[in-house]
Symmetry: C2
Subunit: 457 residues, 2 copies
Amino acid sequence: MFDPVEKLKEFIRHPSVSTDSKHREGMRGAREFVSGLLGSLGFAVEVVPTDLHPIIFAQRGGDPSWPHVVIYGHYDVQPADPLNLWKTPAFEPTIVGNRIYGRGAADNKGPLLTNIAAVALALEENPRLPLRITFLVEGEEEMGSPSFPKFLAHYADRLRQADFVYLSDTALPNENQVVLTCGLRGLSLFDVHVTGAKGDLHSGLHGGVLRNPIQALAEILATLHNPDGSVNVPGFYDAVLDVHPWERDELKKLGADEKAYAQFLGIDTFYTPPGYSPFEAVRFQPTLEFNGIGGGYQGEGTKTVIPSKAFAKISCRLVPNQVPNTIRQLVQDAIRARTPSGVKVEFVDQHKGDPYVVVPPGRSNTPAGQSPVLARAFQATEQAVTEVWGRPPVYLREGGSVPIIADIKRTTGLDSVMLGLFLPEDNLHAPNESFNLDVMRKGTETTRRMLHALAKR
Amino acid sequence: MFDPVEKLKEFIRHPSVSTDSKHREGMRGAREFVSGLLGSLGFAVEVVPTDLHPIIFAQRGGDPSWPHVVIYGHYDVQPADPLNLWKTPAFEPTIVGNRIYGRGAADNKGPLLTNIAAVALALEENPRLPLRITFLVEGEEEMGSPSFPKFLAHYADRLRQADFVYLSDTALPNENQVVLTCGLRGLSLFDVHVTGAKGDLHSGLHGGVLRNPIQALAEILATLHNPDGSVNVPGFYDAVLDVHPWERDELKKLGADEKAYAQFLGIDTFYTPPGYSPFEAVRFQPTLEFNGIGGGYQGEGTKTVIPSKAFAKISCRLVPNQVPNTIRQLVQDAIRARTPSGVKVEFVDQHKGDPYVVVPPGRSNTPAGQSPVLARAFQATEQAVTEVWGRPPVYLREGGSVPIIADIKRTTGLDSVMLGLFLPEDNLHAPNESFNLDVMRKGTETTRRMLHALAKR
């Protein structure tokens, strides 16, 4: 059996930033790392070419009557910038106490390796484990999985032979309380570009006669929220489903501490839509966020220019049953309608993903027709969590997005069991990302037990 | 006599960007170029050290009864970025037709060299020219002349012995019509920084619970103008003086073409304060502009982050009698009062400068007590312009700022005669800056004639 921590170090050293073409070599390294590791465990590895970053599809076949789990993960990571805020190099894994630091440590290299290690252990303990296992590891998650629909179109038939998807790409609130994630927000992203004069202009010679694109952009963006924090776009909330009462009950079990959360974020005041606590807002409500803004002179000192252009990067997080294309259209229509004279506005669409929700067995309103193996998988996971962590998991939706989960459901009918493994303090998508090695050990043990339990009939 | 165009090429090749410490060598080169050239003309050159970029103070003495002109210019230039928008290298002078391209070609290396060439010619023609001439060439104009007040405190006594200041650092509307600039806007610049959470956050895991600094910044900036384009800051216009009727009359002489101006800027619609034409607004009205904005992820693709920080660079252009510190305080007070909960706001003050106006002789409301040499200098310049360009100059205020002109007036009592030499199409402060070589030739001839006329008594 390999040493999971050493393997994780090796994995992190490959700078697999999917959105940045400079990191093609890091992508190749991470991909070869994963396919090599799965091959060494006896999996039949296919590296499926796509228009951009290939997908690893690795199978352990078996008797068609055996339960069949698809374990999902991704080998790509977020960009590491701003690099100057990292205390240790982003792609040089560094262990401090019980944490390993590095870009991708938590999202998703650590959790993926946790599940690979669990499979390795289970197969070492029982080489004839009556389980079919498929690893599905993509390289475009952090850019919205643009190649995944085409992949699904070709592999849907093979995926339909499985019973459920299992993954660890979601969060737990603290290291003592596991969450089985039963819902994810969707996404719709685009850039808005505002253009004024045909070139940058001297703000003395021409200031006072034309609309500054930064001013126009600020005025547009300022209209997109109401003072209460809700999104001010007609129709934005029309498709939002009410939250089930059992979901609010489950959330209460967490006993989450608002004060501690505010302190963790480093803010004085929350800013949530009316009627929602912070913990509810992040799970049950959609958002419209500004991820970036730029225009004009941003350097040292001053440059007295009226810029020709300004832009903002906008992302909406969506909840069932909002439709990404519809929301994008509504927001872009609102922006167009609110663009002042003297500037023109253009959009560059980025990626999108549907929201997702699965109702775990035993909840009052469990829909009919769920697969019996899915129900057993939830029960096995719940049991394993309770044994390893000393308390049962709670079932919660999460604010993040894993768009392919909804894509798989729509295309193949498969639901997902999502064992959250990263902590709020893991700094996902931010400098000094890290992963808790105790969580890694417990996660490995949990998945190992789940696999054995599922195999027993 | 040297070849002014060859000398200008040499001058442009020194990348003298004062705001950027990377260009220290370029600053040194430009400074040595100017002091060497003035030295070769027989001037006694002092290179006066300052806290940052030394000031060149070069004198041709003479009989105390001779008129004494101080010729002002600056050897520093604006940053050249965005470099990718330059069609020829910014610091490699390139002549195309009757234009020379390069950063600083028009602002201020070309016009300064025009006046140096005129002095060289006049002294060649009459080595005993009965004129005292002082060159005052600074290296911090593009950063707001921070060292100038200290310099003035030490050199005020020597400057008070002069009669007036002469410079070419302002504009003419087209190459057939000279403007003698009789007013300049002041400046007040600062950066505003908005901070939310203590670090960048994942917009899925935390989106919907806190105020995004980009949103807060956009909301703040959007309050700073009224829909009619006027500045929405209490007290902003309180000190603004009414325009003299002769100024509006003078502007009418220009016969400026709004349609051509809009086409030049590449805009469909002007956006001026109510009651002002574009040509009036830029000269007679103050502004509040956004020169830059930044925050969050600005790279390729997407990064779904809630940034911790966002900032904007703000500049106000001021008209008599607005006071830079007062205006800055009013705007910052308004921003503070309009900052929403959940974020904090901080300011970094940049440079500032007083507005300036001088009333040329013969205008109905010419103030008493103007120096007779100043009146003769205006008359000599008007005469020279009329001879060289075939039509008399118009007297206009300009939208740009040369803060030291007001500083000199306040400290020494000296007024300035400003012969505009750059054209709207010269792209000051923008990529592909250039200077018209016909204007350079005519400007040299104009200043040459003015010097000879002033020397005759």
